[in-house]
């Protein structure tokens, strides 16, 4: 009998171009996603060495990081404008398909890949962006790379990679009402820290993961990098295939049936060995709120921020003091007493249609608190269009949210969507690093539901106490 294998081992073996002793493996890359920020120097490198893009048709580009989400065509930032124009020129020169700012396929690169059916089980997918781990939700091996590697993939369609270790993250139990995939991944990082995934590919397994929708799975895999893992993935199943069927780049008819057969063969075998196994009980997870400056500094909404006096380790104590100082919080302050100035619903973590619907269900018939400025930034033009078809935009607008165009927006504030110094944002994004949403800005990561509830109240609140909210169907 063949030795049982994990999905990671299977995908790896199917993509081996070259394997030699004392060297990383040379692996083939099936799909290369490109955006404006991490690609210009790579294209320039090709030009200098007179190299070509080996497989332009396995490459797909869009603009997301810099794009304005309001007054779409007024780009005051000349350097940002130049960067977008450079992507256009590069795609034209090297014959790469591009969804530019006016294209109906435009959106956050990690939202449109799945939406277009480019993201498929068993594929190796890279992008010059750390949240490429998102695509692992489909059982793809997907990870972020630097610009030199972007150039390498453009030129050769391959990468030198050491075989990663595998980590089985078992999630069992049922997520409670009002507790989301976002809360689950935040709770995992809070429990095991921001480094536990370094050197590993995380495979999320267990009944809870099986019960998640594709969009929820994407939220979980998206934040694998926040645990240090370049990639996180989930073995494909019927949920995956149902999502993919009929998408533009997915196989059709008989080819789809054949593809499903092949995809099923990728699923991790019974009894396959992992390098490490961790577990979490989803039933115990509460809605989460980060209080510090990395995603591991996270607590249930019912908790209070840490008191450094209770910390015995002097180095850790100082870290907490620094974090509370940056975040403008008092030791031991209840999370629910933290007042917020901004709400951002968006980013590659939580900007898909189901995220917007869940947030809309919370705010329907309510109003954004007068002291809060709240924006919704759909993940793609298509998400925006679909939401508008269902009148989701109206729910937000009537509540006092701004309804914007698609892009990365306030997740990293490279465009004009910036949280001013010292102000506080409840954000559905993925990083609460110092200055991430603007110099001196204070970020609290939450789920779309929690963000919506805090927009209404002006401070954090346990969304489960919103008894009347009913999910939009």
């Amino acid at each position: 009998m063949m030795k049982p294998k994990t999905i990671v081992e299977k995908i790896w073996e199917q993509h081996l171009v070259l394997q030699e002793e004392n060297k990383p493996d040379l692996i083939y890359i099936d799909l290369h996603l490109v955006h404006e920020v991490t690609s210009p120097q790579a294209f320039e490198g090709l030009r200098i060495k007179k190299r070509k893009v080996r497989r332009p048709e396995r490459t797909f580009a869009t603009m997301d990081h810099n794009v304005p989400t309001i007054n779409r065509h007024i780009i005051n930032d000349k350097i940002a404008l130049k960067q977008m124009q450079t992507l256009e020129e590069n795609c034209r020169e090297f014959n790469i398909p591009l969804a530019d700012i006016d294209h109906p396929d435009q959106g956050i690169v990690h939202v449109i890949g799945p939406e277009l059916g480019l993201t498929q089980p068993g594929r190796t997918i890279v992008c010059g962006d750390s949240h490429t781990s998102t695509h692992g939700a489909f059982g793809a091996l997907a990870f972020g790379i630097g610009t030199s590697e972007v150039e390498h993939v453009l030129a050769s369609q391959t990468l030198w990679q050491s075989r990663p270790k595998t980590l089985n993250l078992k999630v069992n139990g049922t997520l409670g009402t009002g507790v989301t995939a976002k809360d689950l991944i935040l709770a995992i990082i809070a429990k095991y820290g921001v480094r536990f995934g370094t050197g590993y590919v995380i495979e999320y397994t267990g009944e809870t993961i099986r019960s998640l929708s594709m969009e929820e799975r994407m939220t979980v895999c998206n934040m694998s990098i926040e645990a240090g893992a370049r990639a996180g993935l989930i073995s494909p199943d019927e949920t995956t295939y149902n999502y993919l069927k009929g998408r533009r780049h997915a196989p059709e008819g008989e080819d789809f049936t054949k593809a499903v057969e092949q995809w099923n063969s990728l699923v991790t075998d019974e009894g396959a060995a992992y390098d490490k196994t961790l577990e979490i009980n989803a039933s115990e997870v509460e809605p989460q709120v980060t209080w510090g400056t990395n995603p591991g500094m996270c607590l249930p909404v019912s908790a209070s921020v840490p008191d450094p006096e209770h910390e015995g380790n002097p180095a850790k104590k100082e870290e907490i003091l620094n974090d509370l100082d940056y975040m403008g919080l008092k030791p031991g302050q209840p999370i629910s007493s933290i007042k917020i100035d901004h709400v951002f619903i968006g980013s590659c973590t939580n900007s898909r249609l189901s995220d917007l619907k869940k947030a809309a269900a919370v705010i329907r018939g309510r109003k954004v608190h007068p002291s809060v400025k709240a924006i919704v930034v759909p993940g793609s033009f298509k998400v925006k269009q679909d939401a508008e078809k269902e009148g989701i935009d109206l729910i937000f607008k009537q509540a006092g949210f701004e309804w914007r165009e698609a892009g990365c927006s306030m997740c990293l504030a490279m465009n004009d969507d910036i949280v001013p110094p010292g102000e506080r944002c409840a954000s559905t994004s993925n990083r609460n690093f110092e200055g991430r949403q603007g110099n001196g800005a204070r970020t609290h990561l939450v789920s779309p539901e929690m963000a919506a509830a805090s927009a209404v109240e002006g401070h954090f609140v346990d969304v489960r106490e919103y008894s009347e909210f009913t999910a939009l169907t």
């Binding site: 990081h65 630097g146 050769s156 369609q157 030198w160 480094r195 370049r230 001196g440």
Partner: protein, 195 residues
Amino acid sequence: MEPFKLHTGLVCPLNRTNIDTDQIIPKQFLKRIERQGFGEFLFFHWRFEDDGKAKENFPLNKAEYKGASILAAGENFGCGSSREHAPWALEDHGFKVIIAPSFADIFYNNCFKNGLLPLQLSEEEKEYIVKKAETESYKLTVDLEKQTVSDDLGFRTEFQILPHHKEMLLNGWDEIGVTLNYEDRISEYEQQTSK
């Protein structure tokens, strides 16, 4: 890329954990399409006040660390965003070696493409180096060939590095050039898998 073989340099301590690439090079500087010139923006908000004045207490601004080429930091250095602008900024500022007990994967990989050596030492070794660098003008010698770090005071330790990474730095290789030598293997793979 310049080959990296042997380097002696002044150590600058930055003893924090989880230093993310957003701190190393903030997003407002990622809009440039050039590869050079990021050094002046390195650790921008840690280094400068909002009015542009240098923050006196930040190690990189202190006279005693002027010209430092070795940075000693806490664990999980380079976590977060994949931006290669982070090693570009470090390298452009004059750093050749980053010492930390652990590195984030993407940052670690990015260093080797830019002639920058991410050097993993134990927490105790890092603490020794940081303490020395905080109290006196402290230099280290890194010998990549022998995989050793040493000072003039008798401290000497070996470090681990993948042979591939070592070879790349020692030779200053253009990795793409190396890969394209395997062009026939890549084509063969594409044919076999109908890709």
